[in-house]
Symmetry: C2
Subunit: 567 residues, 2 copies
């Protein structure tokens, strides 16, 4: 490709609202431009990289026995109603009506569509398992698109769906995809951490995110120092050590408590440890029910865990007035004697303490010696606690908080969709059985941005060879116009004849501009033809990720390039 003919130009300007380095370099290098918020044009250099990522993902998926197909972008809304996802997805869902009044969803993920398709065939146990995937444009009406390609409203996704005989069969597939994903990201130049995560609106019992550690990422996770445990902040578990379980249960007592509303005020007043206090947080769910989360005072409530435990989609904090209307008092809420319509959800950390203290549902009154079961009975009980840096993993290794970009995810779906959509296969015994399912996603555009986040320097992008837009950036430094031009053209032809992808900077620009652009675009090998090099029948070759350059004879390009590309 002659650079003079390439559509899209480099620029030194960076619009003010561009923060992430990948966004900045993609903009400056002429790889992308914004259309509307969170929607991007891919320019020729951008699409070259995207196509290479697609090819690698496709190769590895095929090797793993997955099969490519494609579904329409518009999904009949009836399918999404079948699985109640029109509700759970919320505002991210985009809908469109056709001329006949039929409603469609703009595909965000395609579980319903894929199952709809599979149901059109008589599938027997002999046909199982299978894993089918597609590359297709996805739509999510994100509240806040940001970071260029890091969080967008429209993007290309590789989404795969596995159909398995049973849980055991599925687990093999899940492990296989785990390995395939690790390999794919490695080929793309990305080291991933696999973290347990929340399934969001996808459904199913467990799932894992593939995260590339980065300060610009939005995935907060915890990883244990022994490396054996990694989980998203939303679901991270930790060891809740037993405190004073050997104490005897004392008599419940109400005392005066002229104090402020914070936990610290309680500690000061009663001179008891923070962990012995009960923390009470009042929420209201989307059915206007009051939900009281109670937890050990030294922990915080994790809303995602809370929502999952009680099975609701949305929660908001109750305000002071709403708390008073219930007959309680902000800062003095207690599960003991709370209004009967309140649903009490207890963290299991309350089993690690005895004789707790906390509010009495009245202003300036506290209770001492509160004990679970005896003094209050939770409607739900489980893990609703938020992990924090320094806590221990359940195996006792210290947790470190990390931050990263989620580039892929794998989900166990189990029978979640197949039961809702009545999707079955004929088993050996002739009976119809539900599919046991999984799904597996890779955000192609976000992956592209992530590669830059991890592979750049002060001068620009430094593409790993497998995803570089071109293999070689050939630059003509024009002193004696005719001479250098002829040699550059010859080198261009040699490289093309070797099936090497070359971007050939034949523009009428200075050496300074050409070198700066070359560093910005970040093609792995730079090859310069100048007056100086042609005197020695040579070209100057430099790797983008190294400083030293060397001369190689034009006649030896073939042999040398073979080596250089393999390095």
């Amino acid at each position: 490709m002659r650079q003079s003919r390439l559509f899209g130009k480099t620029t030194k300007t960076i619009p003010r609202d561009i923060k992430a380095i990948s966004h900045q370099l993609l903009y400056q290098g002429g790889f992308i431009r914004e259309s509307a918020a969170g929607r991007y044009y891919f320019l020729p250099l951008g699409i070259k990289v995207r196509d290479k990522i697609i090819k690698i993902v496709e190769e590895e998926m095929n090797k793993a026995g997955a099969i490519k197909l494609i579904t329409p972008v518009l999904h009949p809304i009836e399918l999404w109603k079948n699985t109640q996802r029109t509700k759970s997805v919320g505002f991210e869902l985009m809908k469109v009506k056709d001329r006949e009044g039929n409603d469609f969803v703009l595909g965000g993920t395609a579980e319903e569509m894929i199952i709809d398709l599979v149901k059109k065939f008589n599938i027997s146990y002999k046909d199982l398992p299978f894993n089918i995937y597609q590359f297709s444009q996805k739509f999510r009406d994100e509240l806040r698109p940001r970071g260029g390609l890091l969080r967008v409203r429209e993007f290309l996704m590789k989404d795969a769906y596995s159909f398995n005989l049973d849980e055991k069969d599925f687990k093999g597939e899940y492990q296989k995809m785990w390995k395939v994903y690790t390999k794919i990201f490695k080929r793309l130049g990305l080291e991933t951490i696999v973290v347990e995560s929340d399934n969001g609106y996808i459904g199913g019992d467990y799932c894992h995110e593939f995260v590339v550690e980065s300060e610009v990422g939005e995935s907060r996770f915890f990883i244990s120092e022994d490396g054996k445990y990694a989980a998203h902040e939303d679901v991270a578990k930790f060891k809740k050590e037993r405190k004073n379980l050997d104490e005897e249960e004392k008599r419940l007592e109400e005392v005066e408590a002229k104090r402020g509303k914070t936990m610290e005020d309680g500690v000061k007043l009663h001179r008891l440890p923070l962990w012995q206090q009960i923390k009470d947080v009042m929420f209201i769910d989307d059915k206007e029910r009051f939900i009281l989360a109670v937890i050990r005072g030294d922990f915080n409530v994790n809303e995602t865990k809370l929502r999952n435990l009680i099975g609701v989609n949305n929660l908001r904090y109750a305000d002071d007035e709403e708390i008073r209307k219930l007959g309680s008092e902000p800062g003095f809420i207690s599960p003991v004697g709370i209004n009967k319509k309140v649903i009490i959800v207890a963290d299991d950390s309350l089993r690690t303490i005895k004789n707790a203290y906390g509010g009495a549902n009245k202003k300036n009154r506290d209770l001492l010696n509160i004990n679970i079961d005896r003094d209050y009975k939770p409607h739900f009980e489980g893990d609703i606690a938020l992990a924090e840096e320094g806590f221990l993993s359940e195996q006792g290794s210290r947790l470190r908080e990390g931050r990263g970009i989620e580039v892929g995810n794998i989900f166990q779906l189990g029978y979640y969709y197949s039961k809702k959509m009545n999707a079955t296969f004929t088993d050996k015994d002739g009976k119809e059985k539900f599919y046991y399912m999984g799904c597996y996603g890779i955000g192609i555009d976000r992956t592209l941005a992530t590669i830059i986040e991890k592979h750049h320097d002060k001068k620009g992008m430094v593409w790993p060879a497998p995803v570089a837009p071109y293999d070689v950036h050939l630059i003509e430094i024009r002193n004696q116009r005719d001479k250098t031009r002829g040699v550059a053209e010859r080198v261009y032809n040699i490289l093309q004849s070797l099936n090497i992808e070359v971007l050939y900077d034949d523009r009428d620009e200075s050496a300074g501009v050409k070198f700066a652009d070359s560093d910005l675009i970040g093609i792995p090998i730079r090859m310069v033809v100048s007056e100086k090099t042609i005197e020695k029948d040579s070209v100057e070759v430099k790797r983008r990720d190294e400083d030293k350059s060397r001369l190689i004879k034009i006649d030896e390009i073939e042999r040398e390039m073979d080596k250089a590309i393999k390095d």
Copy 2:
């Protein structure tokens, strides 16, 4: 690919509503399934073919110097308002609103988007010309989707847009794309006829459709016997021979005319030729204006030409009551003395006759010796006549009516969009000039169906090698299970090692089922391993488009396949 692992199955059933042979075979062969009306799933075999078509189109576009990029699927509606296309496209346009209330169009074509993108760069005459293209999912809310992939509401399109210095520069590009398209379709196994056509809502002055002649097509066109002229019915021109121009103009005369309302009634009553009669057709446009089309009695009005001549998007026939309210009379309409608010549009055929006859805007009254200019003055005059089989081309060659499938089109856009969107480049003289543009589309999915329409027999599809889902269909006919299996696996490995794409029928099915499926799927070369062949260390090879088969030694597969694939 092992057929036992292929997702999608063949079937003998054909749903009742499936008419077109391509639709039937794609359904039976397990290439596609319908999601909603006009929206299709592509199964693995279908996507394989589609990918091969994409690759060929991409190769040829790149060779022609066009550059790939991609725009978002959702287009900000403001862009379409700039060019007034939200009105001209009509019901085919699908719209969607995001969470912030912004309206978007689901892309049907991308002129506005591409220009929006180009405007983001400072382009000078040195950067011109360029031709940028994409493959992207397109949406058109077609009134009646039909014929499987022949007319759909959602489809993959290759759309290219050229930006040129001026008309001369553009014409070179247009000619180039004409040649490129012809070559692309040839590589895909399709002979195309290039017909002049109407630009619909795309805009511009002229355009051509690439049509593959076929009874199931919706494009009606005329082609002259000398092959020098081909045009879509909507725009086809023909020779309007001079009739009685040597007559003197006689005095206009109103006579009694107790007759029916048809043209034939007029001929019978006055005993004058049909061509001498004036045909009057009253329309109402979308601004409720009355439009009277007048034409020589032996011709019919072409509504597309009429709309284009007067520049309106929609026309409907006036009903009897509306005609009477105007002070005229159905069957007796005349441009002479018609209500002044009527816009008269005359076909240029009225210049080929003198002393015409026709109605007098009163029941049972006719006028004789009507002459244009003297008796009525048209507001618009031009070619609004419908071509018919047997008419002569302007060069005098007989027109034949043809029918075909429009697989591609090329459009001159000129300054249509660049002026509306104020898109300019800096010319040599430092002045800003509007781009002279063209656009070029290929419907990938319809092309796929068209290939089948042209390449099938009673038994199924007969894929041209370049677009076949696989190169070889390897079939194991299992008599002595262990023996044939081992040899088949060996042949499968040999073929794969030669980079030949093989579909290997390893299923537990009878020879009859396997052969029938193989003919249905239509892979170019069938290779059979059976008890009979293994006795001779051979496989039986047969081309899908031939009846005879032959044995070749397994050791000679490499050499033979090289030959077979090249044939």
